[in-house]
């Protein structure tokens, strides 16, 4: 029973990683940019929510609704001003640019908010602490359920966007062949800006932190670079691996996640393709 519980908790955790990772996956899939500032942008979003909550006394959910358009706009501007220039200069430059961006955001936040730990938990009420027990040993937390629901919604909406709408087709077309996309009238700069805006919107999660970035990266790699559903499965697999590892010994949580990641890397380099997915983000 404790194994079943560990798997369930792993799925909750993995859903969180997947939500964080899908923005990374999208940016890599469409633009081949590895965004090292992804985690910091997520934290920036969380701080924005915190400021709104403390300043106005609104509930975190309402604050989130207000902060969302601001973050989307930030993503769009960030792409057109910083990343677009970096993209022209080769593969390494966007990596350096996002690394610099990461440092800038971290230090600005440090300057403004001090290194103290902040939590939205208090204003979110019972949501963060509530949980139910099933069969005595399986516990389901309300926050876990919310994260899982958010993951389901984010991935479904993203999938529908990419497979059913014209902006989504344009994004996939640009991802496959930006040169040919230009030749049928697609302005790649705006597609890229839109992808970044979506990526930033989707990392927006009040419990994330820059240290989670590495887990998000692992989720992306485990699922296959640039594959949307692969990222979801990768995140879930990583979460389950971590909680199962923790079942053996709490110290093994991060380790078992890394081991899964390494195993996937080795299998990939051995030419074995474990997962192939039709819908590539």
């Amino acid at each position: 029973m404790s194994v079943a519980n560990a798997i369930l908790q792993g799925i909750f955790l993995g859903a969180f990683y997947a939500v964080l990772a899908c923005g990374l996956s999208l940016m890599f899939g469409v633009m081949r940019i590895i965004n090292l500032a992804h985690g910091d942008v997520a934290v920036l979003g969380a701080y924005l929510v915190l400021v709104i909550v403390q300043g106005t006394g609104l509930s975190p959910l309402l604050a989130f609704v207000i902060a969302l358009p601001a973050m989307i706009a930030l993503g769009y501007v960030l792409q057109l001003t910083v990343l677009q220039r970096a993209l022209k200069a080769g593969i390494l430059t966007p990596l350096l640019a996002t690394f610099g961006l990461s440092i800038v955001i971290q230090n600005l936040l440090l300057l403004k908010f001090s290194p103290d730990v902040h939590s939205l938990g208090a204003s979110a009420g019972a949501l963060t602490t509530e949980s139910w027990n099933l069969f005595g040993s399986i516990s389901i937390s309300a926050l876990g359920l919310v994260v899982l629901a958010v993951a389901a919604v984010v991935f479904t909406v993203l999938h529908l966007f990419l497979s059913r709408t014209r902006p989504g087709w344009r994004m996939r077309a640009t991802a496959e062949d930006p040169d040919a996309a230009e030749l049928i009238g697609i302005d790649s700069r705006h597609v890229y800006a839109r992808a970044t805006a979506i990526a930033i919107r989707s990392v927006f999660d009040p419990v994330s932190g820059p240290t989670q970035l590495i887990f998000a990266f692992e989720a992306v790699v485990i699922g296959g670079m640039g594959s949307l559903w692969g990222t979801l499965l990768g995140g879930l697999a990583l979460g389950v691996a971590q909680t199962l590892g923790a079942q053996l010994n709490p110290e093994y949580a991060a380790l078992s996640g890394h081991l899964l990641f390494l195993a996937v890397l080795i299998l990939r380099f051995g030419g074995v393709r474990l997962v192939r997915f039709g819908a590539r983000a």
Binding site: A173, E176, D177, A180, E182, I184, D187
Partner: protein
């Protein structure tokens, strides 16, 4: 006035000069075939007209308006569509998605998915399959259809028969003839001289980046074209044949 006018165009790849002072005109409703050996600069010229290769010098005019500085995606909106060499379909998208992703945002215009299927009826059963699973001829048809979906005034077609079985080439050219008959202005690159002469009103032959021969497809004598194609006359005059 001609629909497309290219004036003294120079294109370079670093130190290599691929197109040297080319001037060219295509009138509305005309079909012009660009011929020449490999490396003559045909593809570079096509890409420069479409805006995919920034020229070193010279001008490209559409309907008298200078469009030299416009990026490719803006030129599509003005009415230039290039069907690139090697087809360049979006492999992960279905045939229908490949077509519809190119549809002009403004409504109206002759071309939509239905119209493309009328010209290429053999695509109908393939509509919901990923483009990568199609045969070469079918892929070429999708590539041309994708170009048509932008409702172009000028269709640029680069090596439509490249790597296709003769049967497939026939099918593609039969459909292309329908498109031309409806009044489409076409500038195409074709390696097969016989086919080029058959489909085009006018032929322009390039050699080493320059236009060496230009004339009505009907009136040009085949030997003269072959000479221009391989640069034989020049070689004979210089006394050192390659």
């Amino acid at each position: 006035m001609s629909l497309l006018a290219v004036e003294d165009l120079d294109c370079r790849y670093g130190l290599l000069q691929a197109v040297r002072g080319v001037s060219l005109q295509v009138a509305e409703g005309e079909t012009v075939a660009l011929i020449g050996a490999n490396g003559a600069g045909k593809t570079t010229l096509m890409r420069a007209i479409a805006g995919a290769h920034p020229p070193h010098a010279g001008r490209v005019k559409l309907d008298g308006t200078d469009i030299t500085s416009l990026p490719a995606h803006t030129r599509v909106r003005r009415g230039i569509a290039l069907v690139p060499e090697g087809r360049r379909l979006f492999a992960g998208l279905t045939v229908e998605e490949n077509l519809r992703v190119a549809a002009a945002s403004r409504t109206g215009g002759r071309w939509n998915v239905q119209a493309v299927l009328e010209v290429f009826p053999f695509l109908k059963p393939r509509l919901h399959m990923p483009a990568a699973t199609l045969s070469g001829g079918e892929q070429q048809a999708v590539a041309i259809g994708r170009g048509l979906m932008t409702n172009p005034r000028l269709l640029l077609l680069d090596e439509a028969s490249l790597g296709l079985a003769p049967v497939a080439v026939d099918a593609v050219y039969r459909s292309l003839a329908d498109v031309i008959r409806e009044g489409m202005t076409v500038l195409l690159v074709e390696q097969d001289l016989g086919r080029a002469l058959k489909v085009a009103d006018r032929v322009v032959c390039m050699l080493e980046g320059r236009v060496v021969l230009e004339g009505e497809a009907r009136s040009l004598d085949r030997d003269r074209i072959v000479n221009a194609y391989f640069g034989l006359r020049r070689a004979a005059a210089g006394g050192t044949g390659a």
